[in-house]
């Protein structure tokens, strides 16, 4: 906290301050009825977020959830912290303001593929580029749900929806590639259907200092059922999930039977049971690479020819926006002395009229 800022108004201490006891998931639930459709992937995400928050060792009042518009953006109403349900696409901007006013708080952004990658892409890119310490959760269901079923910017080419009865004629935007291009310092992908992986990824983002971007693959039961079945279904999951582990050779499939190599600068799968000698050629995941090249290559992989990569694509350390901002304020204060309003008003040429 900047020493110049007067603390918030004094209020009576709570008899049972949050910080004195171990919080549980229940502490982060509100009395509001959760109003997503039955079977919506958002329920699973909400549960894991509440669980992870409880494990962070911080009291509830130090969390702020900011959202835009869309199904996912109802999220703040269901988390018993401070929350701000904003306007379409603008959550990263609002959250940046919150973080700059109160760098000490843990600020989370909940957005969707329409909110974050259509109307709000600009804000998302710039929030990531600045590296403000925001945890940005992008629920990607590849459809507009709240407006009842139009194609979204992440819908696959040719997809038939209410607004594209003959199929879309647009290339989908790639969330992970967008985040990498914006030089985000933490870029990950997880999915609603794997609570363990979801919780692990959320916790890693929470520990990261800087802008963290998580694409969460999420099923829309009503308007895009089965969009991620290949990777979500237990039957096919092992074949179609590529779990990224920093410093490890990239293997997937049952028992890590298959692996990823680079052939003529293109990714290719190898069957290590058939060709065990190729184990030495496997790509090794390096989330700390300063080059986004490998992360970008992994982000592009998708069924049917490749598995979907899940986990942390990239994690780097870089000064946060608010640290640099407050650093400049401290520096200016050190150089020019404590602020004196009279001195400010009387700066420059002044004269006295008797």
């Amino acid at each position: 906290m900047n020493p110049l800022t007067v603390p918030p108004p004094e209020v009576p201490a709570l008899p049972e301050a949050d910080c004195l006891r171990q919080l549980t998931r229940k502490d982060f639930q509100t009395d509001q009825e959760v109003r997503w459709c039955p079977g919506c992937g958002d329920y699973a995400i909400l549960a894991q977020v509440q669980k992870v928050l409880a494990g962070l060792g911080r009291p509830r009042h130090e969390f702020v959830f900011v959202s835009g518009i869309g199904c996912s953006s109802r999220f703040p109403y269901y988390v018993n912290t401070y929350g701000f349900h904003g306007i379409h696409g603008r959550a990263p901007a609002i959250a940046t303001g919150v973080k700059c006013a109160r760098p000490d708080l843990s600020v989370w952004v909940v957005t969707g593929d329409g909110d974050g990658l259509s109307i709000g892409t600009n804000h998302l890119i710039h929030a990531l580029r600045r590296n403000a310490d925001l945890k940005i959760l992008l629920f990607n269901n590849r459809i507009y749900g709240l407006t009842k079923g139009q194609y979204s910017p992440t819908s696959e080419f040719g997809k038939r929806t209410k607004s594209s009865p003959l199929g879309t004629i647009e290339q989908p935007i790639r969330p992970i590639l967008t985040a990498l291009a914006a030089q985000a310092t933490f870029v990950a992908r997880t999915l609603y259907a794997d609570p363990g992986h979801l919780a692990e990824t959320l916790a890693a983002a929470a520990r990261h200092r800087g802008a963290a971007f998580i694409e969460i693959l999420q099923n829309c039961r009503v308007f895009n059922e089965g969009a991620f079945d290949a990777v979500a279904d237990r039957a096919t999951a092992e074949e179609n999930r590529l779990l990224l582990r920093h410093g490890q050779p990239i293997r997937f499939g049952p028992g890590g039977r298959r692996g990823l190599i680079l052939r003529d600068m293109e990714p290719a799968c190898v069957d290590l049971e058939a060709e065990p000698h190729r184990a030495g050629e496997l790509l090794v995941h390096n989330a700390a690479s300063t080059s986004p090249a490998l992360a970008a290559l992994l982000a592009e992989l998708e069924p049917p020819h490749f598995p979907t990569a899940l986990g942390i694509f990239r994690q780097l350390e870089r000064p946060t926006y608010e640290d640099l901002l407050m650093g400049q304020i401290r520096e200016a204060t050190a150089r020019r002395g404590r602020p004196d309003l009279r001195q400010l008003l009387e700066s420059g040429t002044t004269w006295v009229v008797e």
């Binding site: 918030p8 209020v11 009576p12 401070y82 929350g83 700059c100 009229v353």
Partner: protein
């Protein structure tokens, strides 16, 4: 050299007020010498009002009409309310400057020109078929031809600077000449030069030599037979400084945040003519100013609102096109009832319009330009120094009533400068919420203070008050989401009553003039100076005319209707097509008349005088 230390053969005439215009190429340093002249006039006790006229091109070709940069100031022993209708003295550093400025010069005015710049090439660039110094077209003016570049070169030789750098000192030659013309002392300026260029002694010496040379040239040649003295004025006692509207706005925001004991979060996107506020605040980080230059106008409004949610003084500045983009966020701020200050430095629109020209055409947008029923306070400063008071008041109202506030400044106020009486810091009211925070068990996000109807401001980080707000309709008191029809109606009413209730603490409008009369001029914003001057002149001539100027445009002050009805006719001069006139007509069902000027320029005093006389004759 002391004032009055001149050839006794010269005549010294007393003036109550005078207007000077320095005009030259954008690279000629006209803004610098103009502002220095303004400071000197202020130091001598005069009241001042200045206005620059920049080219809209960043680097227009030298010598062209598009490249002319001007600085006009009016100074006087009485209250100077505008930068002057018509200059008495024009300093023209080249033919283009003469061409652009001549039409505004007073008949019989003085033209000081740098004859060295009147080359065939420069004359052609200024679209002169013949040299106006030689073809008799300047008859009726007093022309003072001076080879300024040559004389500056000679005078600055000892500085050792290369000839190009020495020639650039000619603006100080022109200033020295003008100082002699107005019987002003050189010493304060020489001292200023020593401070300003202490790290570059050669430049200091050259500018000082040039300044003295200009002064001495005027003193010794016979070109100027008369010089003038504008007697000191009678400003209220206090310490003063010169401020532009944008500087005063920045100072007002800092002062309000400091007095509130909160950081100032100013989020903005560069836009003419509001960017100077961004620059001023960026240079004042030691006052806990958290400046965010955002990716767009929308983000700037959003970040400022987010900062306000988190307990900072959240402000954003912009101009017309940017206000359009901030509109959605303003709606959110109305719904979430958070203190957000939006400074709109108006410029000529619609669309990109004329970005460097002034206009007041965003009033109806500020009042009504949001979807849904979304009332909010709208304030307008009347003069550059008033921008301080209004920016401060905007922060105070925003926090006290938990509401977004729009301030309507404009390009004229933003760039114009005048003397600002520096307020006693300890006497500035502390911007604070209407009521202290309730205990956590009594807290509800929309449980209002009964007097102001303001909801409590409990920001993230405060234990025990965790809550959620947003753009969806709120249940009264609890702030929970509801689409209940009776509740919506009640909330619409509550939001409207809260803003309307601000009127209760506003002072009734002050009329300059009698409470009753033939013609009342009602204005808002930057038209103040020209209106006040015109009305004073009309009153001196015995006309029953009054002037009422509105600082609060929403809510309007109490007792406004009887004030308007006290006069037979009401005239509203505005730099738009009649927006306040429309508001007053619809609000009070009065046949208010409109005097509209939408030319990208402020009113001249005489334009309003003429309108008054025409109406009184009718």
């Amino acid at each position: 050299m002391k004032p009055g230390c001149t050839d006794p053969g010269r005549e010294l005439r007393e003036l109550r007020q005078s207007t000077v215009r320095f005009a030259g190429d954008s690279g000629d340093g006209m803004q610098l010498v103009g502002s220095q002249f303004a400071d000197l006039a202020s130091l001598s006790g005069c009241t001042i009002r200045t206005i620059p006229d920049f080219p809209s091109e960043i680097r227009a070709p030298a010598g062209t009409l598009a490249g002319v940069s001007g600085y006009q100031l009016s100074f006087g022993s009485e209250e100077v309310l505008t930068p002057g209708d018509a200059p008495f003295v024009l300093v023209a550093m080249n033919p283009a400057a003469l061409q652009v400025s001549l039409p505004e010069l007073q008949p019989g005015g003085i033209i000081i020109v740098d004859t060295d710049a009147f080359t065939p090439a420069n004359l052609a660039k200024a679209h002169y078929a013949a040299n106006p110094l030689e073809d008799g077209s300047l008859e009726g003016y007093r022309v003072v031809p001076v080879p300024m570049t040559t004389l500056t070169q000679e005078a600055t030789q000892p500085s050792g600077l290369p000839p190009g750098a020495r020639a650039r000192c000619k603006n100080f030659f022109a200033l020295g000449l003008t100082l002699w013309l107005y019987d002003q002392p050189l010493q304060p300026l020489l001292e200023w030069l020593m401070r300003k260029f202490r790290k570059d002694r050669a430049v200091m010496a050259a500018n000082g030599a040039s300044l003295r040379a200009g002064y001495n040239f005027a003193n010794t040649t016979e070109l100027l037979r008369i010089h003038y003295r504008v007697a000191p004025g009678r400003l209220p006692p206090g310490r003063y400084r010169r401020v532009t509207g944008n500087e005063a706005t920045a100072l007002g925001l800092i002062a309000a945040a400091q007095r509130a004991g909160r950081p100032l979060a100013y989020a903005s996107y560069p836009i003419t003519p509001a960017s100077e506020i961004l620059h001023e605040l960026s240079a004042r980080k030691e006052y806990d100013v958290r400046v965010l230059q955002c990716e767009d106008e929308i983000a700037a409004a959003g970040a400022a609102l987010g900062a306000a949610f988190a307990g900072a003084v959240g402000a954003t500045g912009t101009s017309g096109p940017g206000l359009s983009l901030k509109t959605e966020t303003l709606g959110l701020a109305v719904m979430t009832e958070l203190p957000l200050v939006v400074i709109n430095v108006q410029r000529a629109g619609p669309s990109t319009g004329m970005p460097t020209k002034t206009e007041q055409a965003d009033l109806l947008m500020a009042l009504y330009g949001r979807h849904g029923e979304a009332p909010l306070p709208v304030l307008a400063p009347a003069s550059p120094a008033d921008c301080f008071t209004v920016a401060y008041e905007a922060v105070r109202l925003a926090i006290r009533y938990m509401t977004p506030v729009i301030v309507l400044s404009d390009s004229f106020l933003a760039n114009s400068a005048e003397a600002f009486r520096i307020p006693e810091v300890d006497r500035l009211p502390v911007p604070a919420p209407a009521a202290p925070p309730p205990p956590p068990e009594a807290f509800a996000p929309y449980r209002r203070d009964p007097a102001t109807l303001a909801r409590p401001w409990l920001m993230p980080g405060t234990p025990g008050y965790e809550h959620r707000i947003g753009g969806l309709e709120k249940q009264d008191v609890t702030g929970l989401v509801t689409y209940d029809s009776a509740n919506h109606r009640r909330m619409v009413e509550l939001r409207a009553r809260k803003i309307a209730g601000i009127a209760a603490e506003l002072p009734p409008p002050q009329i300059e003039g009698e409470p009753r009369g033939d013609l009342l001029l009602v204005g808002w914003g930057s038209t103040y100076g020209a209106m006040a001057a015109a009305v004073r002149q009309a009153r001196l001539e015995g006309h029953r005319v009054g002037h009422l100027h509105l600082r609060h445009l929403n809510p309007l002050p109490p007792q406004l209707e009887p004030a308007l009805r006290g006069y037979r006719r009401v005239l509203v001069p505005e730099n738009n097509a009649g927006q306040l006139a429309t508001v007053l007509r619809s609000r009070y069902l009065l046949p208010v008349e409109s005097l509209s000027k939408v030319e990208g320029r402020p009113f001249l005093i005489r334009e309003i005088r003429n309108a008054i006389e025409e109406l009184l004759r009718a």
